[in-house]
Amino acid sequence: MPESKKTFSIKGMHCASCVVLLERALKQVSGISQANVNLATEKATVVYDPQIVSDVHLKEAVAGAGYQAMLGQDTATVDEEQLEKQKELRDLKIKVIVSLVLGGLILWGSFPGLAKTAPIFLQNFLVQLLLALPVQFWAGFGFYRAAISSLKHRSANMDTLVAMGTTVAFGYSTFVTLMPAVVQRAGIEAMPYFDVSTIIIGLILLGRYFEARAKAGTSEAIKKLIGLQAKTARVVRNGQETDIPLGQVMIGDIIRVRPGEKIPVDGVIIEGESSVDESMVTGESIPTDKAKGDNVVGATINKTGTFTFTAAKVGEQTMLAQIIKLVQEAQGSKAPIQRIADLISSYFVPIVIMLAVATFVLWYNFGPVDQGILLAILNTVAVLIIACPCAMGLATPTAIMVGTGKGAEHGILIKDAASLETAHKINTIVFDKTGTLTVGKPEVTDIISVNNLKSEELLRLAASIEKGSEHSLAEAIVKKAEGEKLTPSKVEGFQAIAGHGVEGNIDGKKIYFGNRRLMEREKIVIGSEQNNQIIKLENDGKTVMALAADGVLVGLIAVADVVKDTAKDGLAALKALGIESVMITGDNERTASAIAVKLGISRVLAEVLPDQKEAEVKKIQAEGKVVAMVGDGINDAPALAAADVGIAMGSGTDVAIEAADITLINKDLRSVAAAIVLSKKTMRTIKMNLFWAFAYNIILIPVAMGALYPLFHILLNPIFASVAMASSSVSVVSNSLLLKRKKII
């Protein structure tokens, strides 16, 4: 087991001796190989074996030395994030109100026509300057701060543009107010534009306010998942029940859960029975009945009965924690479609600044003689203000966040943004039959003896030889024999023949048990009557196995697997999307076709040996198809990895399916189509967002520069530019949020 490393804060440290004390205390914990404590950062870093050491051990060791370990940083970060967001929103709100009120007063006092109705003092330029000052340097302080610190890194962003634009407007206005004579001498009316600088700041901050609120909505899914966690667990220790915080539950603890309570961690029921609502974690809508020996999943809700269970997975190992981790990882990954936006946004701001300078020069040189400098200044400001790199930066990630979050709510876990992107191109889906389209628990349906052998004896022989096999069909036969209380014989020389069956010696007879291929290989004759029986059974979708003793066929056993309830609807949904479904199976052609017909699948790949599945997937890809493979994630790992998108049906609490790009933890086949619909809708949102963000900048920057002036005499007022800018990034985020309302299933 590889070692893990963890860094956490420690409260209560004050001197160098604390360091020694803490390091010693931590090193004494078995399983910790290294411990370093830093007084300056008040942090401890430990290297440990995660199998032995849990957060509880670390906390206890630190507490034992008289300090407090601040573990569980992730949940803390979410709270902190929320607090910080709330504070940010409050600050923004005040700044927006102050800026817009002051800006409104200035506008009233300076807008042609409107100014006559304003009190005289508002028309005074000096008063306007005094009103504009707090907006520029208090409300707008954030722009300056960010602009200056990024200039130190020789980089520029949104704030740089706003700071430059409003400074130009404010600076010119101040100059005009304090030294009107200089401007008048140049033949220009001494008219300040404090309304422009203040209202732009107010509106851009208002845009930020809405954007911050909308952005909080994009990460809601993760917050919801984290919120699902139970706070406490009722642990039975030394015969006594005590409620303890969730973080202190350890593997092996016995936990009691009463009706209506949340199951705190993952485990196995040891006593009692109940029905459990798992919809919040797995997306499975119908409550499941649970009894002794069944697995329970943390954060799901116990409905009816009381039971006790042993904790099997705690902390980061629980299914919920793994789902959260998977969704977080997907949200941190990058969709390939984003590359172009990335490339452009890294050059965007400097290019806009260059365009703004060019605008000034062009208008100064070629603008109308009487107001060249005025229009040069206003248009420069408009260019700086209208450019909106944020919309480009937000277009893809916000949609990916909402999309992956929505998937998780429906039990569809997407590994990364790239998988979500590829999924919308899928046109062929290969389904593994057993365990994916069918329940995977075959049952014996027919026992046909040949040569007067009793059917119990036939079943007993088959069960005896199959006892050593790991095949799912073997399990059905052994179970059936156990049900009929038959005693198996000892098998000698057992051997499994992949894709064929098994062989061995029982009571001195050489036994072969397997499919037609095995019989042909061993040159065992199948009579025409039996042949007809086999064909009939196979046409019913049953898998038939023949048993031969000493070279003679003695019987047939048919086994059938139940098709999943959701299979038919799931496949119909895919058909409606125009996607071809292919069934792949080791079964013979006839059995496979019978099931395929029932499900409406037209293409069947039968008699495929397990190690050939990957090659079959590649063959379909070679036809130019974009292929998804749906399997149970265990036997199908190579085929899942070979497909363009590997979709695993999650089983039990095992969600860490490495080979799969998408995991369906609800095991519902309708979710395959839902995942593709989700991908299509997310991609549509991303494309709309990107189109909007690009078109906005490509069209409005030239307009702000004055491209429409020569023909139509249209210029963009900087105040309108700020309205457009503020609404463009808000609309991109809002469009992503609309994904939440889209129906996928």
């Binding site: 490393k5 990024s150 997907a330 020069v361 790199p389």
Partner: protein
């Protein structure tokens, strides 16, 4: 052309060239990291180009000092990491790069960039 037009044009072109040089022609030297690298987030990332060892755990400790919401998140897409950086607090991110190459880290809106060079 009037003399003032010539001056404005020359100065304007000069500023454009300066902006191009200042923002787009910067070259940053890579800082070679030990086990732990402290990265200050303030109008960008410093250091922004960091050379780290392949196959070894390196801890990146981000401390955000800039209240601008642009920098509130850091993403390392190739490692599927998206972390919120609370103001004036250190957030540790552990990486164990298995492959050599260059990996970007960016802010949530993709305006600020840094680079990890794995050798």
């Amino acid at each position: 052309m009037q003399p003032n037009s010539i001056i404005v044009t020359v100065v304007g072109v000069g500023i454009i060239i300066f902006i191009y040089w200042f923002f787009l022609m910067k070259k940053e030297k890579a800082v070679t990291a030990g086990d732990v690298v402290d990265i200050v987030v303030d109008g960008g990332y410093s250091p922004s180009v960091i050379s780290i060892a392949q196959g070894k755990i390196t801890t990146l400790q981000f401390t955000r000092k800039d209240p601008s919401s642009c920098l509130e998140e850091v993403l390392i897409p190739e490692f599927k990491i998206r972390k919120f950086l609370p103001l004036n607090q250190t957030v540790s991110i552990e990486l164990k790069p298995e492959k050599a190459g260059e990996y970007e880290f960016v802010c949530g809106m993709n305006m600020f960039h840094g680079k990890l060079i794995v050798k």
